[in-house]
């Protein structure tokens, strides 16, 4: 992939030095495994195996994986261990090792201890010092999430929400898969929303914010439960920030949306694909020819460049 001939801001609609139209154009290349880096408001893109990518080191670089569904063994993917291992291999092949990994939930398929153990074992081979989790609805079956919190929820509040800082970036893990109401979508609940408001109250508005949760925090397709009933309240607490990135899973395909200062992004699953909204009678696992499966599974890389608050979000498949 060659560098654009003119490295300058072409569109600056929000007067913040961010060329969003160019950013979205760059993200369209993401499916081929490109690394897009925002530096000084200008986009540069590198193929993941381009040596120049090594010098695109930024302020923060991490990987998001999602929906490993360990324990699933139906025709859509009879070996979810193998595809999770393939995702770890991809992470190991990155030119810059990620500082940490975010897992946005549905770690297990049936909340069984052996399923969680298996994921932990496979992730040990990843080149990241830490893995941070949020639960999916498949991780909190039977016990209101007690086992999930025992394994991954030390130092979290309530159902397992928490925040932490990395290199000047404030990351917030939210839980929207508990106490779901009949006919409803995902739910954060008032206790968590109050915690969130307090958590960000004294942060400077130039602090880059990353929010991660399992079910999308914007309404993608309500008929299939792809949305969160009370996400608007959560996002209202983040209005003051210049850069907010929301990372979600649950829908087993990549989607993105930019709304003001908020960029929403969903990741692929490492286990099985799901249909696009409305393109099937239900959001169940999609069976594809075996040789196509890995091209529909994937992981996401996120980079923040020093001096700039916009994050580059790049997806690559397992093919």
């Amino acid at each position: 992939m060659t560098r654009p001939a003119e490295d300058r801001i072409l569109f600056n609609h929000n007067h913040d030095g961010i060329d969003r139209r160019g950013f979205l154009k760059c993200m369209a290349w993401a499916g081929t495994g490109a690394l897009c880096v925002v530096r000084g408001g200008v986009l540069q893109s590198f193929a993941l195996n381009d040596p120049a990518a090594r010098h695109a080191k930024g302020q923060l670089s991490f990987v998001q994986i999602s929906d490993s569904h360990m324990g699933f063994n139906k025709p859509a993917n009879p070996d979810v261990s193998a595809t999770l291992k393939a995702a770890v291999d991809k992470i190991n092949a990155l030119p810059i090792p990620p500082e940490f990994i975010l897992h946005t939930g549905d770690i297990s398929h049936l909340s069984k201890p052996a399923e969680f153990d298996n994921v932990d074992q496979i992730l040990k081979a990843a080149p990241a010092k830490e893995v941070f989790f949020v639960p999916g609805e498949h991780d909190v079956l039977e016990d209101e999430g007690a086992q999930y919190r025992e394994r991954y929820g030390k130092n979290t509040k309530g159902a397992g929400w928490y925040s932490f800082d990395k290199n000047g970036v404030h990351l917030i893990g939210l839980v929207n898969v508990m106490n779901l109401k009949a006919g409803g979508l995902g739910s954060l609940g008032s206790e968590q929303l109050e915690w969130l408001e307090a958590d960000v109250k004294y942060l400077s508005h130039s602090t880059p914010i990353i929010v991660f949760a399992h079910i999308p925090l914007w309404t993608i397709y309500p008929d299939w439960g792809w949305g969160t009933d009370d996400s608007a309240q959560a996002l209202s607490h983040l209005k003051k920030f210049g850069s907010v990135t929301v990372l979600n899973g649950h829908i087993h395909q990549t989607m993105q949306k930019v709304e003001g200062n908020i960029t929403f992004h969903t990741a692929c699953s490492t286990a099985f694909p799901q249909p696009k909204p409305g393109e099937a009678p239900s959001p169940g696992p999609v069976k594809v020819p075996a040789e196509q499966l890995r091209s529909l599974l994937g992981l996401t890389r996120v980079d923040l460049v020093r001096g700039k608050h916009s994050l580059a979000v790049t997806d690559s498949s397992l093919a």
Binding site: K74, P75, A76, H109, L110, S111, E137, H138, L141, E142, L180, K181, A182, G183, G184, L185, P222, D223, W224, G225, P281, S282, P283, G284, P285
Partner: protein, 118 residues
Amino acid sequence: MRKFQLSVTGEIALVLLLTATLGLPLRWAAAADTNPSGAEVSIDNFRFTPQEIKVKAGTAVIWTNRDDIPHTVTSTDSVFKSKTLDTDDKFTTTFTKTGTYSYFCSIHPKMTGKVIVE
């Protein structure tokens, strides 16, 4: 050759047997709705089918998960709640009191159903 001849008792017995056999399919057809031996709901494609089922008080309803994803059967008024049902797992509960019982899948809450007990 001896003529085959039923005795009177034998003929009556034969008639009764035929009647019973003919009557049986009708009773089986009604079983899904009103037979106390069980009414069935199938879970497939993120749906409860039939979504609304009418049964007489004292009937057991049996849910079978035929989907390739786990689901639960959870009453909205905390009257009953199944364990997580994987593919081919079943859940049964007997409805002794009349009324309308709404339920949903606690994992995929957009899936809803109703049992109307008469």
